[in-house]
């Protein structure tokens, strides 16, 4: 039994390492990549349309003769940028709501948690779809829609953690000694929240990449000629028969990114927050 769990731990750590490496490479590509690639991501070259992979174009060219590798590299920056922005907004809103609801209790808590229930009563992606659609198709509106949809998980986790900490003696004691509320939050309530939030946020980065690509694929997110993975996939769908690389290059990129964040998130959970159960995927 001991041997078994040690093996399991080793394997999960190895997978975590793989996840960290994938995420590290993606981050590097997003930051440095665009300065290295030789082509312009939006420059059309109609005489070189639909060229299969070659030395000059390692992943071929697309329907407008643009270099797929270059667009993929720029797309990394777009996807990661949006994922980080959306996740940050979710974390901030969710943490504030969770802290306030858990600490205040009473009707404030009741109000916020009913709000969370209502939010959860919509299938997330459908809500995001409608919000993004009605605000108008653009990457900015996709960000707003995804931020509105996804903060509830954080609010619930943070609230739960605050509720369980609030009851502890040392928090009571601190309150009785007249610790200012700001300090009480910062010193006693927030620390218990940080680890689960880091874990959820890491997994969330992957789901946001997936959702952004999905919405852009439908046409509600990034607009052509922006080099975004979902948009690239949509652009290539007419050509799956003759030019399979246009669709598959961004597909692989999305999958690797999501895989990286999933592996890293699962590993971080084992390390930081072992009690937490695997949660059902949400948008």
């Amino acid at each position: 039994m001991v041997g078994n769990s040690a093996v399991a731990e080793l394997r999960s750590n190895r997978l975590t390492l793989v996840g960290a490496i994938i995420v590290g490479i993606l981050g590097f590509v997003a930051i440095v990549g665009p300065t290295v690639v030789p082509y312009d991501p939006t420059a059309q070259d109609l005489s070189n349309r639909l060229q299969p992979p070659s030395l000059a174009h390692p992943l071929g060219t697309d329907q407008l003769g643009r270099d797929v590798t270059t667009r993929l590299v720029y797309g990394t920056r777009v996807s990661l940028g949006i994922a980080i922005a959306v996740t940050t907004i979710r974390v901030v809103i969710g943490t504030i709501v969770g802290l306030v609801a858990g600490y205040a209790g009473g009707w404030v808590d009741e109000l916020f948690m009913r709000l969370v229930d209502i939010q959860l009563a919509f299938p997330g992606l459908v809500l995001a779809l409608v919000v993004a659609g009605i605000l108008g198709p653009s990457l900015r509106n996709v960000m707003i829609a995804l931020a509105i949809v996804g903060w509830t998980t954080y609010a619930r986790v943070v609230r739960g953690s605050v509720l369980s900490r609030k009851k502890r003696r040392y928090v009571d004691a601190a309150r009785l000694f007249g610790t200012p509320r700001r300090r009480l939050f910062k010193r006693h309530l927030l620390p218990g929240v940080i680890n689960p939030v880091i874990v959820i946020a890491t997994l969330n980065l992957g789901t946001v990449v997936l959702a952004t690509a999905g919405l852009s694929f439908i046409g509600l997110g990034a607009q052509p000629p922006t080099p975004e993975w979902g948009t690239m996939l949509a652009g290539g769908r007419e050509y799956v028969r003759s030019a399979w690389w246009i669709v598959n290059a961004p597909g692989v990129a999305i999958m690797l990114t999501v895989l990286g964040f999933n592996l890293l998130g699962d590993g971080l959970r084992d390390i930081l927050d072992p009690k937490q159960q695997a949660r059902v995927e949400e948008v």
Binding site: F122, V126, G133, I134, G214, L233, V240, I254, M255, L263
Partner: protein, 316 residues
């Protein structure tokens, strides 16, 4: 058994959520930047509408009434089965929805079947042969399945099975052959999630005392696994599968576009682009109702199925 009181309570809260959802659904139109009437007319004609046209449109569609009155008219009409008329096609929205629902439900159910047929054996094998290559392979599958965008998987399937092997049609609706690839594309993500869940649940159960008891009675491992362990392991799985219904519906939107299946999802996306608000509102409301009702049924049936809830009441 579950008490009538609990059922009444759950139905009550679900209805309340439904009311809020309907207000939100109706109110979404007012999120549109600027004047919705102007936006709709602009979309229909492709040019800036005249002030008279906007006034007439507002008058005709009751936009001048206060919001609560508009909402009340909308929701009471819906209870009479009138979802309004599409701005774009001039057809009754209710008819459009009724026409589109079968294609979507067919896809959603087929995807769930695919997910369960793949996930249950894989998850059980993974737990029973924990730590072996079988376990590792199935966990790898689960990881890949969760990380793969379903619309890309859709195109992969089209490229391989429709274009190269010619086994299935590329797109459209029709017989069962049209359903296979979309159902696999949509079901794989869920299969991955359920595989993980079956594995965890099965491992928990295999460690439980009653399984030890069954083993010590001299029952064969086969009977222990299938009769005692699997049945109990599936209870939490049912809940998650039910709750995944919303996830499947969302996914169906994208998959319908990949495979050009005329269902609710395609209708919703078309309507969003055309600013056809009655259709958007109707479809979102229908999807939310389906989602809320499923969650309610799942919650109630879980309480009926889970023997532990029964035991609590019987003072065992």
């Amino acid at each position: 058994m579950i008490s009538a009181e609990y059922i009444a309570y759950r139905i009550g809260t679900s209805s309340l959520v439904l009311v809020c959802v309907s207000v939100l659904t109706f109110g979404m139109m007012y999120l549109t930047p600027g004047d919705p009437a102007r936006a709709i007319l602009y979309h229909q004609t492709g040019q800036q509408p005249s002030a008279e046209a906007v006034t007439a449109f507002r008058e005709e569609h009751g936009f001048n009434e206060p919001f609560p009155v508009q909402y009340w008219n909308w929701i009471t009409d819906i209870f009479r089965g009138d979802f309004g008329t599409s701005f774009r096609t001039n057809r009754p929205v209710a008819t459009m929805i009724v026409d589109a629902i079968p294609a979507t439900l067919e896809l959603a159910i087929a995807a769930m079947v695919v997910a369960l047929v793949v996930a249950i054996p894989t998850g059980v094998a993974s737990a029973v042969y924990r730590g072996t290559w079988i376990d590792q392979a199935s966990q790898l599958f689960a990881l890949a399945g969760v990380s793969m965008p379903n619309f890309w998987l859709g195109y992969l399937l089209i490229i391989v099975f429709a274009l190269h092997l010619g086994l299935f049609p590329v797109s459209g609706t029709g017989g069962l052959s049209y359903l296979v690839l979309p159902a696999i594309a949509l079901g794989t993500g869920m299969a991955a999630i359920v595989t993980r869940l079956v594995r965890t649940s099965m491992l928990d159960v295999l460690d439980a005392e009653y399984v030890d008891t069954a083993r010590s009675k001299g029952l064969t491992e086969r009977i222990v696994i299938y009769k005692h362990a699997l049945r109990n392991a599936l209870i939490p799985v049912i809940t998650v599968v039910g709750l995944q219904f919303g996830f499947v519906l969302s996914g169906a939107v994208v998959i319908e576009i990949v495979f050009q299946r005329p269902g609710l999802g395609m209708m919703l996306v078309d309507a969003i682009f055309a600013r056809d608000f009655p259709v958007v509102q109707g479809v979102v409301l229908v999807i939310s109702v389906l989602f809320i009702v499923t969650n309610l049924l799942v919650d109630l049936s879980y309480r009926v199925l889970d023997p532990r809830v029964e035991l609590g009441g019987e003072n065992a």
